[in-house]
Amino acid sequence: MFKLILQRLGLAVFTLFTVCVLVFGVTEALPGDVCTAYLGRDAQGTRLENCRQARNLDQPALQRFADWGKGVLQGDLGTSLKRDKPINDLVATRMRNTAVLGLGAALIGIPLAIFLGVLAALRRDRTPDMVISGSSIFAMTIPEFVTATVLIYVFAIQLQWFPAVTTVRHNAPLEQLIPNIILPMITLALVMMAHILRMIRSAMIDVMAGDFVQMARLKGVPYWRIVFLHALPSAMLPAINIIALTIAWLLGGVVIIEQVFNYPGIGTLMIRAIYDRDLPLVQAIALILAAVYVACNLLADLSSLALNPRLRSAR
């Protein structure tokens, strides 16, 4: 058991290291460097020289990678080119905003997705299932920016219930963010729900056909007890990993949704960093988001180990 946990931890560290190598390596391998990308047409003469010197670009790549890695380990993500500020300061409040958005969407989306998934599985191929599965395909396949735009049109412009875009600054207190957060949260929750719901549905269908459910039925256990206490827990086991996987998907989606609503989160910052060709900032954000994803996966792995004894003895 202890060995298994160590193994998973090791894997997470290895993944993060690979991500670091890749994020750094891509910048090195492709033509141009941080300075030429940032300066664009002005990349010549003394400006280029100064920028390169300030960024230690005259050092060998391995040396710079080691320095960067050491900084990251100590919690220092470097300095932004455009804003000339420590990246840590830029990222902190935006991280908070994105975390509030993501957690809110997860809190609404996951329970609702589980409920709807169970409902669809129990009423398989009948009207409730058709409606739920059908709309989940729509929510999954329509691009986030289209869904967001439709929601803005209906709820912000026609009904005027919520603001269409966020106008408060990134460091505003949370209560000022609340009215602005609702539409992006709904958009994110919709996409998330569709993925999780489909997994729960197919897992539930498998489980409900199992012998132990049959047994419980024959024993005369009440129906809702079978569904929620016997079947759902075992259907949840494979779903936990999928929920973690969808988070990777969501991190991509969050970037777009934040952009549509002009929500001052990490995604908007990342897009702006790319417009500015501020590569150190882009690298830092890519690393943060990958770390969030790895942490989610680790959590999912560990909790399925805790919940499923079969996994513990298998190897």
Binding site: L22, T141, I142, V150, A248, W249, V282, Y293
Partner: protein, 297 residues
Amino acid sequence: MTAITANTTLPEVQKQSRWKQVWKNMRRSPAGMIGLFVLCAHLIIAVLAPYIAPHDWTLQNGYIMLQAPSTEYWFGTDNMGRDLFSRTLMGGREAIMVTLLGTLLAIVWGGLAGITLGFVGGKVDEWLMRIVDALLAIPWLLFLLLIIALTGQQSWTLILTLGFFYGIAVIRVVRGATLEYVPRDFVVAAKTRGESRLTIVVKELLPNVLDALLVEAAMRWAWMLLAFSSLSFLGFGVVPPTPDWGLMIADTRGMISIAPWAVMFPALALSTLIISINLTADSFAKAIGLDRAKAPV
């Protein structure tokens, strides 16, 4: 429905009747047929668009900005006075081209790498799969944006990046499908006969995982289209003035309260295309005997 093994005596006859059976199965699902119909319509329009567009899709006209749909301009005009009907017809061409080529690349390299890894097995497989998992840990959009920030947004960069990155996800699926066949008799027999690795991968394993690969291709295409239009929306995909649905939505969404049609038509075109691919892929997977609902994203 079992896959054809390479040792079957009359592969031609079997193959033909099998695809006929698949087609028959597909025709039973109304959603799949609607999907296929819409998909075909989209492809035909994309090919014929330059010939059937009633107006010049890049011509700007300051006198007719943001006009509502009329008999002259069926879908209205956009903020630069360009005909939206012509632009919507043209708007899928670049996206479809790039993503189709990207999917082809992803399937070829991901498929071959996946089969090879599953076949070789052992330490090599184990370590490379860990790297694959690590690569999958980077949210796709960030990876694409990082590369585009460095290289600029030419079509071929997009094709290569999309193809490379989506191929990684293909490796996983195909490797999983391959593992099922590696211990089978016909593979062991081929090994004993002294066939080369390449022959076994291409002649023995590939025909068996082809089903999984085809379904994977359809799915990847839909996701790639989603990714590409998102990139366009953010301004990192198609270079203006080439019309593209994602870019058209981005350009006109600020005016949605006065000209909702300018957003609605490209959004409708994009959504129907992606949904139709998904519906077709779903019914194809079912017809071929694979349950797609079980596969994660």
